[in-house]
Amino acid sequence: MSTEPAAAAADLLGDVSVDDLHGDVSVDDLELADELTGSGEVATPDVAEYALRLGDDSLILSQQLGWWVSRGPELEEDLALSNIALDVLGHARSLLRYAGSATGRSEDDLAFWRDEPEFRNCWLVEQPNGHYGDTIARQFIFSAYQAELYRQLLSSTDATLRAIAGKAEREVRYHLDHSAQWILRLALGTEESRERITVSLRDLWPYVDELFADDPLIDRLSGIAVRPSDLRAGFDDTVRTVLSEAELEVPQVQPALARGRHGMHSTRLGYILAEMQWLPRRHPGASW
């Protein structure tokens, strides 16, 4: 059977016209409908806002960690950070899906078609990857926070949040364990590694307080959302345990005036979004 090259190309492209190489494939065709939330429940505006906060934290962290793929200091660490990125991306998808249910937007609409002031992530996850120790310090702080967050969210009265937390809670334990092991290794390694991880933790510590700040949204979501200030004791316990084993002090620094939950971000977020969003914005509906 002989086929003209043009016909063969047309076969490969299916029904897609040559003018429209990207076709009209929509990522929504994956039909992630009810499945990721477990119930197909529609979030109220307040619950959606809360889910957006948690989802944006995970989305931005995942995007940041993705930078390390192929750049890790060794293959195993490359894999570890990619695995962690994949886990938190999974959480982000579930949370954004749920957040979007309030307004009929998909997880991709929320990830790719919002601008900086509409993002609700904390400043910690916007902090630069820096060197490996910086990334590990950021991960350690964030995982210690998330471990407590998801553990408490298991008692939420909202079934969807509870289901997401039920999966995330186990995964975050690995992230916490991994970053804690590296804190120990770097702190108790060489003089150089100890100095650098000390500086990393000190540089990131101003962004810790934002994670535990309550506001009126949290008051309105009593029983559904976890009160951030209630997470502080568990976080402090984890941090004290690991840092004392690492023979490090908990940094004493002034908190930054970080208001990511209200859409006010550091200049870094714009650069992160530019990289994350340019492709779907340049080629709407692109698929591969």
């Binding site: 695995n83 962690i84 999974g90 039920g166």
Partner: protein, 169 residues
């Protein structure tokens, strides 16, 4: 106890048996039934509905599994197939069948060796993992995160072979 149940009702059981044949795209020696990812099946005259549960939140294999289940059921003559996934109750390795664990070991992947239920604490204690080749317990973890979300990389200090370990989760 987390034992996914094959439905007793004959029409649903037939659908279950077809869906249960779908292999895990990442660990093809396991079926989705062995893995504990196949959660439930409902068959009506109008459509069949299969529910899967992802292993890890970000596991990309779930999309493949969903497509494979739908394709197999279409081939078997079910025109209306709906495959949903659910997060709750969350999958753990306790859902993996004993047959699945034996297949994994024969394939060269150390199976999860104790129950996930009841494990606690921020820093987990690693128990000895048995080498799937020489069965020595003189093994050590090389990397907690392996080639897929569900595996860690180990090395046997007896036969010196590296191997994958399906993490207790």
């Amino acid at each position: 106890m987390v034992t996914p149940l094959r439905p007793a009702e004959p029409a649903a059981a037939r659908v279950w048996d077809i869906a249960a044949q779908v292999p895990d795209p990442e660990v093809p020696v396991l079926t989705i039934e062995d893995l504990g990812v196949l959660r439930s099946v409902v068959a009506t005259d109008a459509e069949v509905r299969v529910v899967l549960t992802p292993t890890y939140s970000g596991c990309p294999a779930i999309d493949q599994m969903r497509d494979d289940v739908a394709a197999r059921l279409h081939e078997a003559g079910y025109p209306q197939v709906r495959v949903d996934t659910t997060l709750s109750p969350a999958w753990t390795t306790d859902w993996m069948s004993d047959a699945g664990k034996r297949k994994l070991e024969a394939y060269g992947i150390a199976p999860p060796d104790f129950r996930a239920a009841g494990r606690q604490g921020p820093i987990t204690v690693a128990l000895a993992v048995k080498c799937p080749r020489c069965h020595s317990t003189r093994t050590r973890e090389i990397a907690r995160f392996g080639s897929t979300s569900c595996k860690a990389l180990y090395e046997c200090q007896e036969c010196l072979e590296p191997f994958d370990y399906f993490k207790v989760h």
